[in-house]
C-alpha cells in the first residue's frame, strides 16, 4: 500500500490515530487559533450562553492590528474596545494590538506556529501556516466552538502537488512564480485538497517568500498549502517557538492525486488582473495595454517582508516615482518595520516621496485607509483583487514588488526587466 502524505500524517498524529486516509473524518487537537475579529466569536458565545472560559487561553492569538493600524471609524474603535475588555475577562494572553501588524505573519514570527501541528484561523488566508510544515486551515464560525473544545473536525483531504525546479530569470521572484502556479492550477484546481509545494525552488526560498505560496493556496481552493520543512524552517523556528516541533515529511512512496511540474527558469513576470487572483497574464502583455497606475502598493499578506521592500528598492534606486502615481509602503509587522529601519529602507522610501504606513494588512479590505477613487487603478503585492476590494469594482492588479516598483516609476503597468 502506498505511503501517506504529510497532511494525512499530521491529521493522524493530532487525532490520535495510527493512520488516516482521504475521506476519513477526524477530530484533531488544535495547537493555535488565529482571530482578527473576535467580536464574531464573542457574539456566538452569547448565543450559546453561559460560556466561562476558552479551552486554553495560551492557544488563542488575537491579531487586533491585522486589518487596522488605526481605527477608521467609531464602529471599529468600539469593536476593538469590546475585544480588549473580553481579553481581560477571559484571560486571553496573546493580544497583538494596533500597530503590531499582519496577524498571519505575527503567528509565524512570534513562534505561535510549529511544524507538525494543527492551526486554524478565522481568516481564509490561514493556509499560510503550512509554510512551516504545519497543517493550517481557515475555519470561521467554528472558531467559537473550537475555542471551547480545543478540537476541530476535518474530512481528510487527498493531496495534490506542485513541484518547482530551477531558478528564475532576473526580475522574476517568488510572487511571479506563485502567480504562475495559481494560473496553472486554477481557481478551483485544488478544491478541498491539501496542496503540497515541493522541488528545489521552494526550498531555496526564505520562509517569508514561502508564505506567499502557502497563503495563495486558498485562491486555488485548497484546504492547506503544505511545504516540507528543511534547514531553513528549523532555523526560523529555533528561538521563536516555545514548545518542541515535530517535523513531518511525505512518505517517499506517497502517491499524489495530481501533480504539476513548473520549470521556474521559464516563468516571466506575472500579474493577476481583475476580477480574481487566478486571472493571470504576463506583465509583458498587459504592459502593451498602457494601463495608468494611480496607486502602487507594496505590502499585504503576500508582499510585506523586508525582502519584498529590498526588491522594490533595487528597481527604484536612482529613479523617481511618476508624478501621477502614489507609492504606499506598508511593512507587514513591527519586526519587519524595525528591520527596514536598520537597513535604511525607511529613509530610502521617505526620500523617494512614498507614503509610509504603520504595519497592518494594508489597503485591501476596507477596514482602514487607502481606498481608491471610482476609476483609479492600483497595482499591489497583496493577495486579493475581487470586486469591492479597496472600494472599487475593477482596477486592482496584483504583482511582484519588482513589477509594482517599475509601474510606480512609469505611472503605468510596466515589466520590471528593463530596470534590472
Amino acid at each position: 500500500m502506498a505511503g501517506h502524505s504529510a497532511t494525512e500524517k499530521i491529521l493522524a498524529l493530532r487525532s490520535g490515530k495510527k493512520e488516516v486516509f482521504p475521506g476519513d473524518v477526524v477530530v484533531c487537537d488544535v495547537d493555535g487559533i488565529f482571530v482578527h475579529s473576535p467580536w464574531f466569536f464573542l457574539s456566538y458565545w452569547k448565543e450559546i450562553g453561559g460560556v466561562k472560559r476558552c479551552f486554553d487561553p495560551d492557544k488563542l492569538i488575537l491579531g487586533l492590528g491585522h486589518h487596522v493600524c488605526l481605527p477608521a471609524d467609531n464602529r471599529y474603535a468600539n469593536d476593538l474596545l469590546e475585544a480588549r475588555k473580553a481579553a481581560e475577562k477571559y484571560g486571553f494572553k496573546h493580544l497583538y494590538d494596533m500597530g503590531t501588524g499582519n496577524g498571519h505573519i505575527i503567528m509565524l514570527e512570534k513562534g505561535h506556529v510549529r511544524s507538525g501541528y494543527v492551526y486554524v484561523g478565522a481568516d481564509s488566508h490561514s493556509t499560510i501556516y503550512g509554510a512551516l510544515g504545519a497543517f493550517g486551515t481557515p475555519t470561521s464560525y467554528e472558531v467559537a466552538e473550537i475555542l471551547l473544545s480545543g478540537k476541530a473536525w476535518f474530512k481528510v483531504p487527498s493531496t495534490v502537488r506542485v513541484t518547482m525546479e530551477a531558478q528564475p530569470m532576473k526580475g522574476v521572484c517568488a510572487r511571479d512564480v506563485a502567480q504562475y502556479v495559481l494560473a496553472t492550477v486554477g481557481a478551483d484546481g485544488a478544491l478541498m485538497k491539501s496542496l503540497d509545494f515541493s522541488g528545489s525552488y521552494i526550498h531555496s526560498l526564505s520562509i517569508y517568500q514561502r508564505m506567499i505560496f502557502s497563503l495563495l493556496s486558498v485562491e486555488m481552493g485548497a484546504i492547506t498549502g503544505f511545504i516540507e520543512p528543511d534547514e531553513i524552517t528549523r532555523k526560523f523556528m529555533d528561538g521563536r517557538v516555545r514548545n518542541p516541533y515535530e517535523i513531518v515529511y511525505n512518505d517517499p512512496d506517497c502517491v499524489f492525486e495530481k501533480e504539476w511540474f513548473v520549470d521556474v527558469s521559464k516563468v516571466e513576470p506575472m500579474i493577476a488582473c481583475p476580477p480574481r487572483p487566478a486571472l493571470t497574464e504576463r506583465v509583458a502583455d498587459i504592459e502593451k495595454k498602457d494601463i495608468k497606475v494611480h496607486q502602487a502598493y507594496i505590502g499585504g499578506c503576500t508582499g510585506s517582508s523586508v525582502e519584498d521592500f529590498e526588491m522594490a528598492a533595487e528597481i527604484l534606486r536612482g529613479r523617481s516615482i511618476h508624478p501621477d502615481t502614489r507609492l504606499i509602503i506598508v511593512p507587514g509587522t513591527q519586526d519587519i518595520l524595525k528591520d527596514m529601519q536598520r537597513k535604511g529602507l525607511i529613509e530610502f522610501f521617505t526620500e523617494l516621496g512614498a507614503i509610509i504606513s504603520p504595519p497592518y494588512c494594508g489597503p485591501c479590505q476596507l477596514c482602514c485607509y487607502g481606498h481608491l477613487g471610482e476609476e483609479e487603478v492600483m497595482i499591489g503585492t497583496h493577495p486579493r483583487n475581487q470586486p469591492g476590494r479597496a472600494g472599487v469594482n475593477g482596477g486592482i492588479y496584483l504583482a511582484s514588488p519588482y513589477t509594482v516598483a517599475a509601474s510606480a516609476i512609469c505611472g503605468k503597468i510596466t515589466d520590471p526587466r528593463r530596470f534590472l
Binding site: W39, F40, S43, Y44, E47, I48, G49, G50, A122, D123, S124, S126, P138, T139, S140, Y141, E142, A144, E145, L148, A187, D188, L191, M192, E219, G221, I223, R276, Q365, L366, C367, R384, Q386, P387, G388, R389, G391, N393
Partner: protein
C-alpha cells in the same frame, strides 16, 4: 428535513466570491437583516428583492470562494435562501453554510439543467433532485442525516446551546 420542495429564485455562474456576496464597500452593520439588503449588490442588485423566504439559489462552480467573511453566508441565508445548490463549493462557505443552518448541496450538472422559476424537490438522504417543471432528475452525494438536526435548529450554536441545556437538566 428529509425532503424540501421549493422554487429556484436566483441563479449565478462560476466563482462567485464572498466579496460578491457582501462587499466590504456596503457593509455598515453585521446584523443579518442589514447584510441581506446588500447581498450580491454588484453582481445582481435585484437579488434581495428576488430572493424570498424558502427560495432556492442555484450556482456554478466554486461558489463562495475568497475571503472567509462570516457575513457572506449570513447574508445569503437572511435574504431568505432555504438551500444553495451548486456545481461545487469553496470549502469555507460550505462549512459555514452548515454551521449557520444553510444547507449546501453539491450537485454536478445543476447549473445547466436548471432555470430561475423551476420547481425543485430535494431529497437530502437519497441524494436526489427532481425538477418538477422540466421533468428531469439529478443525483448528489447525500447529506449525512446527523447534520439534519443542526440545520433544523438553525446551526452549530443553537445546537450547542440545546446540548448544554439538556446536559444541565440531566445533572439537576
Amino acid at each position: 428535513m428529509n425532503t424540501y420542495r421549493g422554487k429556484v429564485l436566483s441563479k449565478f455562474g462560476d466563482n462567485i466570491s464572498t466579496d460578491d456576496m457582501t462587499s466590504a464597500k456596503y457593509i455598515t452593520s453585521h446584523e443579518p437583516k442589514e447584510v441581506a439588503k446588500i447581498c450580491m449588490r454588484d453582481i445582481d442588485p435585484e437579488f434581495p428583492a428576488k430572493m424570498a423566504p424558502g427560495g432556492i439559489l442555484v450556482a456554478g462552480k466554486n461558489f463562495g470562494c475568497g475571503s472567509s467573511r462570516e457575513t457572506a453566508t449570513i447574508a445569503v441565508k437572511a435574504a431568505g435562501t432555504q438551500v444553495v445548490i451548486a456545481e461545487s463549493f469553496a470549502r469555507i462557505f460550505y462549512r459555514n453554510g452548515f454551521n449557520i443552518g444553510l444547507p449546501c448541496v453539491e450537485c454536478p450538472g445543476i447549473h445547466d439543467a436548471t432555470d430561475v422559476g423551476d420547481e425543485i424537490e430535494i431529497q437530502y438522504s437519497e441524494g436526489k433532485i427532481i425538477n418538477h417543471t422540466k421533468g428531469t432528475a439529478l443525483e448528489f452525494v447525500p447529506i449525512p442525516e446527523s447534520l439534519f438536526h443542526q440545520i433544523e435548529v438553525g446551526g452549530l450554536f443553537p445546537l450547542i446551546r440545546e446540548k448544554l441545556e439538556k446536559r444541565s437538566k440531566n445533572t439537576n
